[in-house]
């Protein structure tokens, strides 16, 4: 069981400490310091998990498990990276592990006339914009709400969705994504490209359907 308060700080005083300091105190056994870290980062972690998994309950469970794993491993946190990056990595790995267990870690059914994912680092897909099947400017014009995008993202196969979310909502670099997922940067690039192409196609079809219904 961790120590409460560490005998020095109480209540909102934790709120004035940096993540690094809190992590250091948590590594020394301060449960209150860790609680403050949980308070600060839960929302971002829950949003990411929810977007990846697509279920509020499952996202809740995944984040809770990741935070407990974070507590157990906090003494390994060296402070070289941000605490959020460190705990996010734990969360993403846990979710990807769950996907693998459930057999969800596949490209899924992609109704486009190209290989779903070469898996080879650096292998270009050689897509031409004019072959994408819809005018990109038209797509931009048709995007009515962010909710449409969220729905389309939720329907992406997991391996594309994960890379897309890590890039677009977490603003991670290709090398960071590659490091977290344990794949080559070239694979990140090709999966991201595929995710964007699917989204363009999906949103185009949805809008067309709505227009002519």
């Amino acid at each position: 069981m961790g120590r409460r308060g560490a005998g020095l700080l109480v209540g909102s005083e934790w709120a004035y400490m940096s993540d690094g300091d809190l992590a250091g105190r948590a590594a020394s056994g301060s449960q209150d310091a860790y609680s403050e870290l949980v308070r600060r980062h839960s929302t971002k972690l829950l949003n990411l998990a929810w977007r990846m998994i697509g279920s509020e309950d499952a996202a809740w469970d995944a984040v809770q498990e990741a935070l407990l794993a974070g507590w157990r491993g906090i003494s390994n946190f060296r402070g070289e990276a941000e605490f959020y990056s460190w705990i996010r990595r734990i969360l993403v790995n846990a979710i990807m592990g769950q996907f693998r267990k459930e057999g969800r870690n596949r490209a899924g059914t992609v109704s486009l006339d190209m290989p779903a994912d070469s898996g080879e680092p650096g292998e270009p897909l050689h897509l031409q914009v004019e072959d994408a099947g819809s005018d990109p400017q038209d797509v931009v014009g048709r995007i009515e709400t962010a909710r449409e995008i969220a729905k389309a993202v939720a329907r992406l196969p997991d391996i594309y969705k994960t890379v897309f979310l890590l890039r677009e909502t977490e603003l991670m670099s290709y090398s960071e994504i590659a490091g977290v997922l344990g794949i080559a940067e070239g694979t990140v690039k090709s999966r991201l490209s595929m995710a964007r192409r699917i989204l363009r196609e999906t949103l185009g079809e949805e809008v067309k359907a709505a227009r002519f219904a």
Binding site: S42, L68, D135, P136, V140, I143, E168, L192
Partner: protein
């Protein structure tokens, strides 16, 4: 413009071509090398379909970041994690390490972490222990052999005739031999 992979302004047949999707995405993401980025920027200045595609990629990302998400009860998560920690144990401790006063005193300390580490990795700790013993025996053997090499022939004869040497305890013999 300098021709680059995925960044050609003209195809093999000389017809105008465009940036491929990966290069375009990498450009929007700021992931191209400087020389490729410059080439892509030059191309985008003159190619409206590619510029529109780049804007579409940027718009997708922007909309994804704005997308709605559920209202989360953060304090409930804090309480759940707190409860989980109470069941799990202290930093670096295995679940079964709860209980005794001595362990409670050790929690969070250097000794506590070592104990926690050993408990959570028993096989590794056992292997390390055996390796340390083998290393210590080897060092003693090498040291003893080196010491014997320095002895004169007469001393060696003396040493070899001693019963302790025959049992392999060279160091003990050389220190304790009464004739020296």
């Amino acid at each position: 413009m300098k021709p680059t992979v995925g960044c050609n302004t003209r195809g093999r047949d000389g017809a105008p071509s465009h940036l491929d999707d990966e290069s375009l995405g990498a450009y929007v993401d700021g992931e191209l090398h400087a020389w490729a980025e410059q080439a892509a920027a030059d191309h985008l200045r003159t190619c409206s379909p590619c510029r529109a595609a780049a804007e579409a990629i940027a718009a997708l990302g922007s909309a994804a970041r704005r997308s709605e998400s559920p209202e989360w009860d953060v304090e409930a998560m804090v309480a759940l994690v707190d409860a989980g920690i109470s069941e799990t144990g202290a930093v670096g401790m295995a679940c079964e390490s709860r209980g005794s006063m001595a362990e409670g005193m050790l929690r969070g300390s250097w000794a506590g972490r070592v104990i926690g580490w050993v408990r959570s990795r028993r096989r590794l700790a056992l292997g390390l222990g055996i390796a340390l013993i083998v290393l210590a025996v080897s060092v003693l053997g090498v040291a003893g052999t080196a010491y014997r090499r320095e002895l004169t022939a007469e001393d060696k004869l003396l040493v070899d005739s001693h019963y302790i040497v025959r049992s392999g305890n060279v160091g003990a013999l050389l220190v304790s031999y009464p004739g020296r």
